[in-house]
């Protein structure tokens, strides 16, 4: 510990270079990450899929085979991400998904569908969405 501090004090340039490299990596990572698949974006905008309170996608209306495929595909990927991140935070997938769901519902655009705490499907308006009172502000 002492050695590390000592090294950092002696070589501020190394630290700067390291953090620069990290920043570049983060930038390239976010740039390389894809945006929403057009089919998924269209299904969201049409209200065929919506954000559930558990952090996964749901179907406000009975889905077609294609819409179900889109939703399940995304949900499988989400579950994988939740599982990794929850393990890193020593939390359960359910809790991680719920916390994400709070934010995903908040991030819905007007016209998109989300699930209210009572389980009903709502269309997002310009008003704040109906969220579980356990959601952080």
């Amino acid at each position: 510990m002492f050695g590390l501090t000592d090294q950092l004090q002696r070589r501020p340039a190394t630290l700067l270079a390291g953090s620069l490299a990290l920043a570049v990596m983060a930038l390239s990572a976010s740039a390389s990450a894809q945006q929403r698949d057009p089919a998924y974006a269209a299904a969201r905008a049409a209200g065929k899929v919506g954000e559930k309170t558990d952090g996964f996608l749901g179907y406000p209306t009975p889905p077609s085979a294609e819409v179900r495929k889109i939703g399940e595909d995304i949900n499988i990927k989400r579950r994988e991400v939740y599982a990794q991140k929850a393990a890193a935070q020593k939390a359960t997938i359910d809790d991680y998904g719920f916390t994400s769901g709070c934010q995903l519902i908040l991030a819905t655009a007007p016209g998109e569908k989300y699930q209210a705490p009572d389980g009903s499907w709502q269309t997002r308006t310009s008003e704040p969405p109906l969220r579980n009172n356990k959601c952080p502000a």
Binding site: A29, S30, A33, Q34, Q35, R36, D37, I74, K77, R78, V81, Y82, K85, A86, A88, Q89, A91, D95, Y96, F98, T99, S100, C102, Q103, L104, A107, K134, C135, P136
Partner: protein
Amino acid sequence: MKRHALTNRARIANTGTMQGTRFGKRWSAWSGVSRLGVVMGSALALGGCISVNAPDKPIVIELNINIKQEVVYRLAADAGNTIKENPDIF
């Protein structure tokens, strides 16, 4: 078969509790007065006190909800980053 009466037997108890005039348990007239005094005395003593009543419903501590809330707050920042890092699936 002969019947024999006991000699020198005790007097048959025919006085019910709290019924007789001379025998059995009975509160004297003064005992009621002294009880009244005790009641009045405690009422006076309690006059300046805060009365605490036991709630008629059981006390429920919703511990699960508090734990969940704590976890959700702890995860919030990390979940926000995760969503930003994976724009293709959120």
